[in-house]
């Protein structure tokens, strides 16, 4: 519906700005090693999450005001905004536990890029649900999937840090080099590896739940819980990759760098499952069209 002037869209603009500022400050923190910069960046990330939450609630209210009582998870725009929210939630929960602020410089860009894409490129109009999506399963399915995706995003960001750090250490360069100086704010490889593993331990059961709720819904709506539709298949591919990651932890020769690469490949597959399937392949989940 053209010509909708939504207040929620404006709130999402502020959210995007907050994520941008937070991201820049996290990068500045790595460069300057000034702890208060990292603190401010974290506070702004929390404010961004608050705005993102408010925006999502507002959008729900705006839909309701138009007479559509539906969860604000009905199209690509809403899902991307929710993805941004999920990434921030998982990231900030991990920050509460680990307080490794340099991680923000590698996770905030993911949230920022997605929010920017939503704000600049995607159609933010509120439209009522088509019959296929008129189900409570939609909410359960989308929330579980996206919490899983978000945890994988954090894991991938941390894995990139891990690889940078390990490669620098392998080069034998000490902290006297400029890059070595930047790495000073990076957590140790042990902690990075731990965060990577913990994030996937959150993401994997969530993805499993997302696939199961999706199957339950498909069975209820279409009469078959699994039809090897490209979206389903890609979610299973993602599941296989992270299952491989989890088993790699117990296998000599598969820890460290290989695990980090698996985590990054897993996130790439996640993004393909989320967007690539809709934009490049044909199937049942055509909300991205």
């Amino acid at each position: 519906m053209p010509g909708q002037d939504l207040f929620s869209t404006q709130i999402f603009n502020y959210t995007t700005i907050a994520y941008f500022v937070s991201m820049v400050l996290f990068i500045a923190f790595i460069a300057t090693r000034n702890k208060s910069v990292a603190l401010v960046a974290t506070i702004i990330a929390w404010i961004g999450l608050g705005l993102n939450t408010a925006g999502i609630y507002l959008r729900y209210a705006e839909s309701a005001a138009m007479g559509f009582r539906q969860a604000p998870l009905s199209n690509l725009y809403e899902s991307v905004v929710f993805f941004g929210w999920s990434i921030l939630l998982i990231y900030l929960l991990f920050d509460l536990k680990y307080k490794q602020r340099a991680v923000g410089a590698f996770v905030m860009p993911i949230a920022f890029i997605f929010m920017t894409w939503a704000q600049l490129r995607l159609n933010d109009a509120i439209a009522p649900l088509v019959p296929a999506l008129q189900s409570n399963w939609l909410t359960y399915h989308v929330i579980t999937c996206f919490i899983g995706y978000a945890a994988f995003a954090v894991a991938a960001g941390v894995s990139v840090m891990y690889l940078i750090k390990v490669n620098k250490e392998d080069d034998g360069s000490s902290s006297s080099s400029p890059a070595g100086g930047m790495l000073a704010m990076f957590p140790s490889t042990k902690i990075l590896d731990d965060i990577n593993y913990k994030a996937i331990m959150v993401g994997f059961p969530m993805l499993t739940l997302g696939i199961v709720t999706g199957a339950a819904w498909a069975n209820y709506a279409w009469g078959t819980y699994w039809s090897w539709d490209p979206k389903e298949t890609w979610s299973l591919i993602v599941w296989f990759i992270y299952a491989a990651f989890l088993h790699a932890r117990f296998t000599r020769g598969w820890v460290g760098k290989k695990a980090a690469y698996l985590s990054i490949i897993g996130f790439a597959a996640t993004i393909f499952c989320y967007l690539g399937v809709n934009l490049l392949l044909s199937g049942l989940h055509s909300y991205g069209a």
Binding site: M1, A127, P128, V130, P131, A132, Q134, S135, M201, F204, P205, T208, L209, V212, A215, A216, N219, Y220, A221, W222, G223, T224, Y225, W226, W228, P230, T233, W234, L236, I237, F240, I241, A243, A244, H247, A248, F250, T251, W254, A269, V277, L281, S282
Partner: protein, 454 residues
């Protein structure tokens, strides 16, 4: 069995028990699964030949790429994966069982060395007093310990959350249950579809993939089909078929609305609203007023049928649409004047009965009725394995949450005389979430110190 055979057997067993095989299989499964998402599955040869060359088509056909998820090689991969899963579990399960139910009650010094949480202290109280205090502390803060006496030494062992070690086996078992459920479904169930014209009935459905007719054993009638759109848009709001089920001459479901996301179930067979389409030409009811005489005629015509107009000439519906730019049904009417001049053509919308007045024609047309019969497309499925799959899914989630979120925590204490005093050694380990356990352990340690020294 010769020694060589035994070596081969052992080698094979080791191969199937290997975690490297698991990782390799998971990676192979994920890579091969991509094929079926890029090449559309289950199309006709004609459709493929429009996309691929003859040679490519032959190659893909030989490799089963057009129905890869049911191909022998993909199913073999899944089979190998299942064997690997079973073998790994069989190999590791007894050791884990022993760890939890036959724990080491007499810890050696070397065992203590493996713990990252350890504390040693020497206190003045007697061994019996110390023992009593530690037992009560452990019982209230952790779990009641098992006490083992070994000469002068007293050993305490307490554990919590031992069952969490079995989460991973529940997860593995659940995957096998899901695969079994899928197998039951594909052997004893069917997937079919049927198109029923409004007002008609059927007792057979068509198997998908060309398996022929399936007799339902009862009759299904589509009483009516409706499609609704959101006001002012062409965005669909509702697809609904009223379905009546007649079994043995008796109506068992009467005009039950079947909509997307709300199927109808009868005798284990489920009907889902899936598609619809027009059945035959529609009929149109027109009220036609003669501008000059004010004479009004009600005429019903089929699309394309040429009908005389009162007062001379004739007309027909040349074209129509059930939803013209979100305004509802519209018909393009052609009026043939009595003098044989060229027909005049104009559009009549059902939603605007007075609209045609402005045309200034001899006859003013309003559409009073648009009668389109539809057929409804229903998916029909029977899957007796679905409950097995849901049990598997539930176990999969419970199992993975237990495996990932809960941890098996164990505490050992050794109390022994050190000269006139009493030496206490405490060690603890958690198989997951060590950080949280460390905090708990430090807290426990502090409590014990206060208790023993205070």
């Amino acid at each position: 069995m010769s020694a060589q055979n035994r070596t081969f057997g052992t080698a094979l067993w080791d191969f199937f028990c290997s975690l490297k095989l698991t990782i390799a299989l998971l990676i192979i499964l994920s890579i091969t699964s991509i094929i079926g998402t890029v090449i559309q599955q289950g199309r006709t040869p004609e459709q493929y030949l429009q996309v691929y060359s003859e040679r490519t088509y032959q190659l893909f056909e030989t490799l089963n790429f057009f129905d890869m998820y049911n191909s022998w090689w993909f199913l073999s991969l899944l089979g190998l994966f299942s064997i690997n899963l079973i073998a790994c579990s069989i190999k590791r399960f007894p050791r884990v069982w022993k760890t939890v139910y036959e724990p080491v009650l007499v810890p050696s010094d070397s065992l203590y060395k493996t713990f990252s949480n350890i504390e040693e202290m020497v206190v003045a109280e007697s061994q019996a007093q110390v023992r009593e205090k530690i037992v009560s502390q452990l019982s209230s803060k952790f779990a009641a310990p098992v006490v083992t006496q070994e000469g002068e030494k007293t050993h305490l062992f307490a554990q919590k959350g031992g069952y969490s070690r079995f989460g991973v086996y529940v997860t593995h078992l659940s995957i096998l249950i899901i695969l079994a459920g899928a197998m039951i479904g594909s052997i004893f169930g069917f997937k079919a579809y049927v198109n029923i014209v409004e007002g008609t009935e059927t007792n057979t459905v068509w198997a998908r993939g060309g398996g022929g007719d399936i007799d339902l054993g009862f009759t299904v009638r589509a009483d009516s089909f409706t499609v609704e759109f959101y006001e002012g848009t062409s965005r669909p709001k509702l697809y609904q078929t009223l379905v009546t089920v007649i079994d043995n001459g008796e109506v068992v479901k009467d005009r039950r609305p079947v909509i997307v996301n709300d199927p109808l179930k009868y005798k284990g067979i489920v009907f889902y609203q899936s598609s619809y389409g027009p059945a035959g030409d529609p009929t149109f009811g027109f009220r036609i007023r003669n501008r000059a005489t004010d004479e009004v005629a009600e005429i019903t015509v089929r699309a394309g049928q040429r009908v005389p107009l009162p007062g001379g000439g004739s007309f027909r519906v040349a074209d129509f649409t059930p939803n013209y730019q979100a305004f509802g049904p519209a018909a393009r009417v052609e009026v043939f004047p009595p003098d044989g001049a060229r027909p005049r053509s104009f559009v009549v919308l059902q939603a605007f009965p007075d609209f045609d007045m402005q045309r200034g024609g001899e006859h003013i047309f309003s559409m009073t009725n648009f009668g389109q019969r539809y057929f409804t497309g229903l998916q029909v499925a029977k899957d007796p394995g679905v409950w097995v799959v849901w049990i598997g899914c539930t176990l999969l989630i419970v199992g993975s949450i237990v495996a990932f979120c809960l941890s098996h925590r164990r505490i050992w204490v050794t109390i022994q005389p050190v000269g006139q005093k009493t030496g206490v050694k405490i060690g603890g380990s958690a198989h997951r979430n060590q950080a949280a356990f460390s905090i708990f352990f430090d807290d426990l340690k502090k409590g014990l110190k206060d208790e023993l020294k205070g």
